[in-house]
């Protein structure tokens, strides 16, 4: 599953800045000891809108982020291909895999949902490496799962900043960057209008709840951003 292990070090999930005094022992998987509320019985308030940006797809083509965060319900996460922490990117993708398998059982729902992964190491994760990485996840033709990278770190930084996704880099004794990244695992649930409606960190990454949240958004009236501006309403 993890092909790009050239620079494998550790993806210290949940430990945003590797502080000297900070414990870096593995986090634990989330426990879930409750029955989640049925879809549509609760509200998910809009946390923030997603700012647009230009990124690159697996073929190196420029793509507007807004094209992949609107008109469908989107689960978006940041990752890097060589992350090896079992409770880091691999755990997030394992959870998303399970969710995808559940979602495709409902073809109508599957048409309305997409997953997006954005690399937080554009220097390593080139479009070519993304394309290779994506083959492990884009096995289901009925489901849209996209992977993006950026032209440069500078092009990525505004996106990270907008999502509040911090990423830090280990430095060596000379203060030079190594290949060890640290980032706090977050998965963003984005509605059809491009608004973040839920954010899942590790303690919150509960697939049953996530599926019900997706269905809650699915049950909402479908109004695209363009329709919202004109007052138009799409057929249900």
């Amino acid at each position: 599953m993890l092909r790009s292990l050239r620079f494998v070090t550790t993806c210290l999930l949940t430990f945003a800045s590797a502080q000297a005094a900070v414990d870096v022992s593995p986090a634990t998987a989330p426990r879930m000891e409750f029955t989640p509320l049925p879809p549509g019985t609760y509200q998910l308030p809009a946390i923030q809108s997603v700012e647009d940006a230009t990124l690159l797809d697996e073929r190196g083509r420029p793509v507007r982020l807004s094209a992949l965060t609107q008109d469908k319900i989107t689960l978006l996460t940041f990752f890097y291909t060589y992350c090896a922490d079992p409770l880091g990117c691999p755990f997030a993708h394992q959870t998303l895999n399970m969710l995808r398998d559940r979602i495709v059982r409902d073809p109508a729902l599957a048409r309305e949902v997409r997953f997006v992964g954005i690399s937080c190491d554009p220097s390593t994760d080139t479009p070519d490496s993304l394309a290779r990485y994506a083959t492990d996840f884009t096995t289901e033709s009925r489901f849209e799962w996209r992977f993006l990278t950026a032209r440069s770190v500078s092009a990525l930084l505004p996106v990270l900043d907008d999502f509040g996704q911090d990423v830090s880099v280990e430095v060596d004794g000379s203060g030079r960057a190594t290949r060890a990244l640290h980032h706090m695992l977050k998965v963003f649930l984005i509605d059809r209008r491009g608004r973040v409606r839920e954010i899942y960190s590790l303690a919150y990454l509960q697939p049953e709840v996530m599926l019900n949240d997706i269905r809650t958004l699915y049950l909402e009236p479908h109004t695209s951003p363009a329709d919202a501006r004109t007052g138009a309403r799409r057929p249900e």
């Binding site: 800045s17 590797a18 502080q19 000297a20 005094a21 426990r31 770190v153 990423v167 280990e170 960057a177």
Partner: protein, 440 residues
């Protein structure tokens, strides 16, 4: 008569007359939100202290004071930074954002929220944002508890703009500082218990999808001189006596629990599978256990006594050990910290106590429990007077049997003010932000 003695008598009278509740607190590494990253499980480097300004003392402003807490450092035990915010608004509590990069700190009087960057250089925090729209947008005032959710901050408030009483609610902001939603504390009966609408602390158990809140008092009471307050029988009726169980996902209250005597700080056991929480009721000086019954309903049960309730020791801040086996409880009036063995949470046993000073409020412990920090101030108008108005941070080492002094900062001598809430940070170490790397 010394002020402390007078105050004790006064508070004893309050209790005897009204059976109502009082004060507050909250802190430490074991009480952070479960959604927060970067728990410091080794040696903390800095203790940040949200400090109330005192007129005529130094710059007189509320400020974030940073103290070096690493024994290996040359400046160990010294104040290494101070960030005044330019006014006195009753500085009180703080909370980290989920990524531990920013500290949100509130003023109970001016209802302003100050956001400090402690991630870039924790030895030199910077004030990066002031949020002043809480009263206008929510009608709540007195932001007390700052509890991180992924990408956002849930704020437990103490009062409201209409009558400045205790009926209040929670406000949810995103990490950019924009209001997302507001939630009223329940005033109706739920599960046979009528809500009082009061608020105070917030504590979440993600595994149970449960949020607990507790209750204190409104601006009319906490901003009043204690001597005046206790002479007002009507005002003394207005203290919280409930806790509320919320469905975290829907943010709807599901149960109101009767917990008389102003239940203040709430601490969930952090031991996996131990789905219970504990709180201390200030005026009744009791420990309460909140636990789910076999039928799924939650219940609050009185499980212990702190000191001699007849003397109104006034338990304020509590701090649970990482393993959920021990609990520190500070009692303000006698300036004493108590350690309870929580091996059986249904029957806490006090196994140690030590007088810290003439007054003591907050207590914070390191994740490993080896270091314990205390501060003195409760509220500007409720602190003791005269010689008993000691204002300090006193740090101790804990070997499981006794507290031994580590260092002390005299906040009056240093012209800092009244020290209240504490939070820990660690040095950046061998990592840099991606932005910093890109800028190299």
């Amino acid at each position: 008569m010394r002020q402390s003695s007078k105050c004790t008598v006064v508070l004893a009278s309050i209790y005897a007359c009204f059976g109502a509740a009082l004060p507050n607190a909250f802190a430490d590494e074991t009480c952070n939100s479960p959604y927060m990253s970067n728990l410091i499980k080794g040696q903390e480097d800095f203790v940040h202290v949200w400090t109330l300004g005192v007129k005529g003392l130094g710059d007189g402003s509320d400020k974030l004071v940073t103290i070096d807490a690493n024994p290996a450092s040359k400046t160990y035990g010294k104040v290494v930074d101070r960030v005044p915010v330019g006014g006195r608004g009753e500085a009180h509590h703080m909370g980290f954002t989920d990524d531990r990069k920013f500290l949100w700190a509130g003023g109970l009087d001016d209802s302003k929220i100050y956001v400090f960057d402690v991630g870039t250089d924790p030895s030199k925090p910077k004030l990066v944002r002031t949020i002043a729209d809480l009263p206008a947008k929510t009608k709540f005032i007195g932001p007390h508890t700052f509890y991180a959710l992924p990408g956002r901050m849930l704020i437990g408030n103490l009062s409201n703009t209409a009558d400045k009483g205790g009926v209040t609610g929670m406000a949810l902001y995103n990490n950019k500082g924009s209001l997302i939603a507001r939630y009223d504390m329940p005033t109706a009966s739920i599960g046979g218990v009528k809500g009082d609408g009061y608020g105070y602390d917030i504590a979440i158990n993600p595994a149970k999808n449960v949020l607990l809140t507790s209750s204190f008092a409104g601006w009319q009471n906490y901003m009043r001189e204690l001597g005046d307050l206790i002479k007002d029988p009507e005002a003394m009726k207005h203290f919280g006596s409930t806790m509320v169980v919320w469905n975290l996902k829907s943010m709807q209250p599901t149960q109101v629990l009767s917990v008389p005597g102003a239940p203040l700080e709430i601490r969930w056991s952090l031991a996996p599978g131990q789905n219970w929480a504990i709180t201390a009721a200030a005026l009744t000086s009791k420990l309460w256990l909140i636990k789910q019954g076999e039928g799924g309903a939650w219940a609050a049960t009185e499980v212990g006594t702190i000191g001699n309730p007849a003397q109104v020791p006034l338990p304020v801040d509590i701090s649970i050990t990482a393993g959920g086996k021990g609990l520190w409880v500070n009692t303000f009036m006698d300036g004493t910290t108590h350690y309870f063995d929580l091996t059986d949470p249904e029957h806490p046993k006090e196994t140690y106590q030590k007088r810290i000073g003439s007054q003591v409020n907050m207590i914070s412990q390191s994740w490993d429990g080896k270091r314990v920090y205390t501060t003195s101030s409760l509220l500007a108008h409720w602190d003791k007077k005269g010689a008993d108005n000691e204002q300090f941070l006193r740090a101790f080492n804990w070997d499981g049997h006794a507290l031994t002094p580590a260092f002390e900062v005299d906040f009056t001598k240093e012209k800092l003010g009244r020290p209240h809430h504490m939070k820990f940070t660690g040095k950046a170490g061998q990592s840099r932000t991606l932005a910093a790397i890109a800028g190299q």
